[in-house]
Point group: C2
Chain length 389, copies 2
């Protein structure tokens, strides 16, 4: 956005979502209980944006200025929903890596982990197989105290690990987030990483002798994610921070943002199902609320999205990179002449929103060029229409 | 709706709005304070409807059944807003007498009382002039205790009236509500009234000798509204119930439903302006909240409604009767081939929603026929579109 704003003579406005960053309506008590967290909803956030944009335009004497909303990931969902709910406030939306179809049963519940598995398998079958094999070995060796002591050493844990599950989670997060940020250039979004980090991880795994310990292999691969810069002397395997650092997301995931996930037998992760009861009990224990499975599709739609958006929507770009597991819950096909899906085979999680670099491959440059062209088209159309009024 | 439902093979569902009727989320404490009333918003009500309709259709195994929402007055606003915000839930809306443009400065603030004045003037200039003259006389005579005693007798007040303002309000309400319900047939919506009650009121006024007391004339006219059936021995001029009997509306009018009203010099009512400060102080005193003047247009739009709805809306009928003062804040012109304004010169407040009677004039019969025809068209189109999926 910093790159393209001058081309549009645009004012960039970053609106902080309530309950994130410094926008805490009840200060440090904001995450205390359902009483204070109850005002943390996507609907309220969208209303905040509407009020802020409308009021800002009035204050700037720019009531007729066209507004385009941009967002990536959850922000991308918000951008597309904002365009649907507030067409009188924003005349277009660029929703990057927005999994608005990852709700109810619209998208297969196993698609997310299947996609990650495909990413790794596409680099090397051995890489995929090593990761697939590691979970059972980890459970097995981590089933007693001696085993956990040894594993703690292998994983260079800062403190002795109390359960094998922590080690599984630690690996799991490394593979999952690396797939999401499998960018074609060096980047520092979640972590500092080289270009094509999934390929790099698989190179590490493949560089071991075939007979080497799968846990050594998996740890070395995960180290790329946690320690690419090489400055970590040990790892906070247990009790580490949520990589998002988002205290509000737990609440949102327990109320409205319920995206059921399962792991299929074909995946490189240990197979698992989704239990609403289990999820619900966890949410009740944490917040005294129960998740509303169908709320998002009731509020924003999602079923038969192509038919509905074709009739009622316009001026939305849904961009997705297929290396990103969230892409599977995104809109991947054009819906109309003004609801456009831009899909890149090698793209990752909202890659298009990253600043241009000299190493960008042509297909990223082309994707960003298309986005700018489409948005120019919307604005031209908007200006003609404003001129008629 | 009862009349036409069989023709559509339709299930009629009446959804009670939260905080009205028996839908009190905190029981008898519901109207206690801003803490409990805070959940009374149009946005929350629309979300209730979305949840109820979606869930009901699932329970009835009728997920694909077309849904049309109907509403009159505030309910008409809700119907049109529901269609805009939840196009995936309702495929059409009939919004009768819905003053969605009575916000901000979209519609002239004096239009409401100007329209009532026009109604009375259209029946007789004398009628208009008598009513216009009554307010000063009332203030004058009611400025001392003796005057109030006499006026209380004239107005057949059950208890001696404490201020002339009460008498003004009593008359004011009679003229205002009678204009709203100026139906072409006998009806019992606000009160039991004959056909064309404004005409009847003016007949009463005009039947007095020219020199008779204007207060006698005005009281006799107002009695038509309060006592058409003749069973009232005295009138509760002070401390009578709000004719709507809606404890929730005070809150809504003090938070989001802010429709500024003024009285112009051309009106038959005593001229007055609108003071946000005064309104705000009153609301703060009652509920410890301040009204949000621009909220409704921020949330639902309203400015440039024709341009916005043409692009983003479809399948809405806005019906209005021009005898109804609320019509001035309604959508009175077709916006597109599927956003239709049905306007009747002699219609009143959501007349089209009243059951058919044998005395209905042709133009009401025709208006209702058009509504049914348009809705049939929407459903035919919907069924074709469902069949393609």
């Amino acid at each position: 956005m910093f790159d393209i704003a001058p081309d549009f003579g645009a004012l960039l406005v970053f609106i902080e979502h309530r309950y994130y960053g410094e926008s805490k309506p009840f200060g440090n008590d904001s995450y205390k209980s359902a009483d204070t967290l109850g005002y943390l909803t996507s609907t309220q956030a969208l209303a905040d944006f509407a009020v802020l944009i409308t009021s800002l335009k009035q204050n700037l004497s720019a009531v007729d200025a066209p507004v385009i909303v941009f967002g990536g990931s959850y922000g991308g969902m918000l951008a597309s929903w904002f365009r649907l709910k507030y067409p009188h406030v924003a005349m277009g939306a660029l929703a990057s890596s927005a999994p608005i179809l990852q709700f109810d049963d619209i998208t297969s519940w196993s698609s997310f982990y299947d996609a990650i598995s495909e990413d790794f398998k596409s680099e090397s079958l051995n890489c995929f197989s090593v990761i697939k094999a590691v979970w059972d070995v980890l459970d097995d060796r981590g089933s007693n105290h001696t085993g956990l002591l040894e594993l703690s050493k292998t994983f260079r844990a800062c403190k002795t690990v109390q359960s094998a599950d922590s080690l599984s989670n630690w690996l799991w997060n490394a593979f999952t987030y690396t797939a999401m940020v499998d960018y074609p250039t060096p980047a520092n979004f979640m972590m500092n990483l080289p270009a094509y980090p999934v390929k790099e991880m698989c190179k590490i795994i493949d560089s071991f002798p075939a007979g080497a310990d799968v846990i050594e292999k998996a740890f070395a691969a995960a180290s790329l994610y946690y320690n690419y810069t090489g400055d970590q002397k040990c790892f906070q395997v247990e009790g580490g921070d949520d990589p998002h650092g988002l205290s509000g997301w737990g609440w949102q995931a327990c109320t409205e943002m319920v995206m059921p996930m399962t792991v299929s037998n074909e995946s490189m992760f240990p197979p698992s199902g989704f239990s609403y009861e289990e999820k619900s009990e966890g949410c009740f224990a944490s917040y005294e609320v129960r998740p509303r499975m169908n709320w998002i599709t009731t509020e924003y739609g999602g079923h038969k999205i192509d038919k509905v958006l074709k009739r009622f929507g316009s001026n939305i770009i849904f961009s997705n990179g297929m290396r990103d597991p969230w892409s599977r819950g995104g809109v991947l096909k054009n819906i109309s002449s003004s609801i456009i899906a831009l899909v890149t085979e090698k793209g990752a999680h909202h890659l298009d929103f990253r600043s241009a670099t000299k190493d960008d491959p042509d297909w990223v440059v082309e994707q960003r060029r298309q986005e700018v062209e489409i948005i120019h088209g919307w604005i031209d159309q908007y200006n003609k229409y404003i001129a008629q009024m």
